[in-house]
């Protein structure tokens, strides 16, 4: 028996799940909402999506080439960044916005900090925050009417609410996405379909979206109506704006959210709270981006203090207690 044997440390079998597989799963889960965006907002939406994805991928490849690293665009993580960024933009933005946003997301928010796994904020959201701050007028005012695709000067439903108005679309329109809003945030049903896919394939943990949306729902229900408690419209708070998109696809980003289940619940609740604060009492109509970005920054702290109970913890706790008792 002169066979050459492979020698490696244990374990000798590994789960079929790979980084690429996980990322591909996320891309697939985003596709229905992307198709929905194109149906609702037309060619411009498609162009924005393509521009964003292409510039994200090209930026990553070029950066890795320039810094003499291995080119890893095949892992789909840049594609996700591009898709997510595009989905947070209004359908009427000029194409340089997604292009610059993607480059910023990939180069400044991701690669400079070490690439995949090392970025400290969600690249797509960092890109969105950047373009929103860079071109506030063209990004926050480029809304299109769904289906008719004509530019509207009227604000998004959230902005209507913010201004004290009550004239928002009905529940069904909100669910299918028949309202003004960012590309990918409007068609709630398609987003939930993708979210469900992620939950079923165990790519994401239910705690983050549930913590996020739950906090938003309860918080708005309690404080949503000025001057009266427990009369706010919690459901609309979830369906309006980018809450669903953020909760299922952005707050669940592995790299920038805690590693423990309990930590992820805290992350979700925290992001929901910050979003709520901004929406109800802040200057912007929408706060999902900043809610998640804020909790991205809190993630190292959560990971430091929220640790699982190790096996044998009870024994140590008893020992400490009895030691204190003796003293």
């Amino acid at each position: 028996m002169g066979e050459k044997l492979i020698v490696t440390p244990s374990p000798h079998i590994k789960s079929p799940r790979t980084v690429k597989g996980v990322m591909l799963g996320v891309v697939i889960s985003l596709l229905p909402a992307c198709v929905g965006a194109v149906v609702l907002f037309g060619m411009n939406a498609l162009l924005i999506l393509i521009t964003s994805v292409v510039s994200a991928v090209v930026a990553e490849a070029l950066w890795q080439r320039a810094t003499k690293q291995e080119i890893t665009v095949g892992d789909f993580s840049a594609v996700i960044t591009g898709l997510l960024l595009a989905m947070t933009l209004p359908p009427g933005v000029p194409l340089y916005v997604p292009a610059v946003g993607s480059v910023f997301a990939i180069v400044i928010a991701k690669q400079i900090f070490g690439g995949l796994g090392s970025n400290f904020v969600n690249p797509a959201l960092a890109g969105r925050a950047f373009v929103l701050a860079a071109w506030p007028m063209s990004v926050a005012g480029a809304w299109l009417n769904p289906l008719t695709h004509d530019a509207v000067s009227s604000p998004t439903p959230l902005a209507v609410l913010k201004g004290g108005g009550t004239n928002i679309p009905g529940l069904w329109d909100l669910l299918i996405g028949n309202r003004t809003g960012s590309l990918g945030e409007t068609s709630i049903i398609l987003l939930l379909l993708g979210g469900l896919f992620l939950l079923v394939t165990k790519i994401i943990d239910w705690r983050t979206p549930v913590g996020f949306l739950g906090t938003l729902f309860v918080g708005t229900w309690i404080f949503g109506k000025p001057g009266a408690l427990f009369q706010g419209d919690g459901l609309s708070a979830i369906l309006l704006g980018g809450a669903v998109l953020g909760a299922f696809f952005m707050a669940t980003d592995y790299v920038t959210s805690p590693v423990t289940p309990k930590g992820r619940l805290i992350f979700g609740i925290g992001a929901g709270l910050v979003t709520l604060l901004i929406r109800l009492w802040g200057g912007y109509p929408e706060g999902v981006t900043y809610g998640i970005l804020f909790m991205n920054l809190m993630t190292p702290i959560i990971d430091r203090f929220v640790v699982p109970k190790y096996y044998g913890y009870e024994h140590d706790a008893r020992a400490r207690k009895s030691a204190e008792g003796k003293r």
Partner: protein, 207 residues
């Protein structure tokens, strides 16, 4: 080995660059660098104060008692600051309006007190003078570079008096560059680039 006099002046640009290498004087660096012009005048004010205070600290270094040297430094620094402030108010009222509180705040600028403490208090008058001039000029360069980048990206143009470059806007300006986040990003990126460059040249020297 004493360093050459020329080196006392040039070290302020790269080697002991206040902003990027020593990371001091961050307040004005971030606050007033929204244009080349602001950066320039802020820098000039700092050069004046720094040179003045360095020279006087150096002159008086044998007389200043160790225990109370910091209060004395502050007085020696406050004097030129008041002079600069009054001069600016008289001759550059528009600029004074923009720089605002950051001119009087030069009193507590880290660069100046650091140079007084770390350099002028120990060195000769001539060297202190050159040091003040060099560090100040380096600082001015930093402010102008950061200001230039932010002004160009944030407004689409760079305005130097009546000369505006480029004459037509090539792109939609990025407002964010004129805000503090833009300042931080520019600063961070420039610092990274300079550090890479210094590390590379050190590596080359080692080989």
């Amino acid at each position: 080995m004493k360093r050459s006099l020329l080196h006392e002046f040039t070290k302020g640009f790269i080697e002991e660059n206040a902003t990027f290498r020593m990371v001091i004087g961050m307040c004005p660096t971030l606050a007033v660098t929204t244009s080349v012009k602001n950066g320039f005048w802020m820098g000039v004010a700092v050069i004046f104060v720094l040179t003045f205070s360095n020279v006087f600290v150096s002159l008086l270094r044998k007389m200043i008692p160790d225990q109370i040297r910091i209060p004395i430094f502050v007085i020696l620094i406050a004097t030129p600051v008041v002079i600069v402030e009054l001069l600016m108010r008289a001759y550059l009222p528009a600029m004074y309006e923009i720089l605002g509180v950051f001119v009087p705040l030069i009193v507590v600028n880290c660069i100046i007190i650091a140079r007084a403490e770390a350099f002028a208090y120990k060195e000769s008058v001539l060297r202190s003078f050159l040091d003040g001039l060099g560090i100040g000029a380096g600082f001015t360069c930093n402010l102008m570079i950061i200001g230039g980048i932010r002004e160009f990206l944030g407004t689409g143009q760079i305005a130097l008096g009546s000369f505006v470059f480029p004459s037509v806007k090539l792109f939609e300006p990025l407002v964010v560059m004129l805000t503090p986040p833009g300042g931080f990003m520019t600063l961070g990126l420039l610092m990274a680039i300079l550090n890479i460059a210094v590390a590379r040249s050190a590596q080359k020297k080692a080989h």
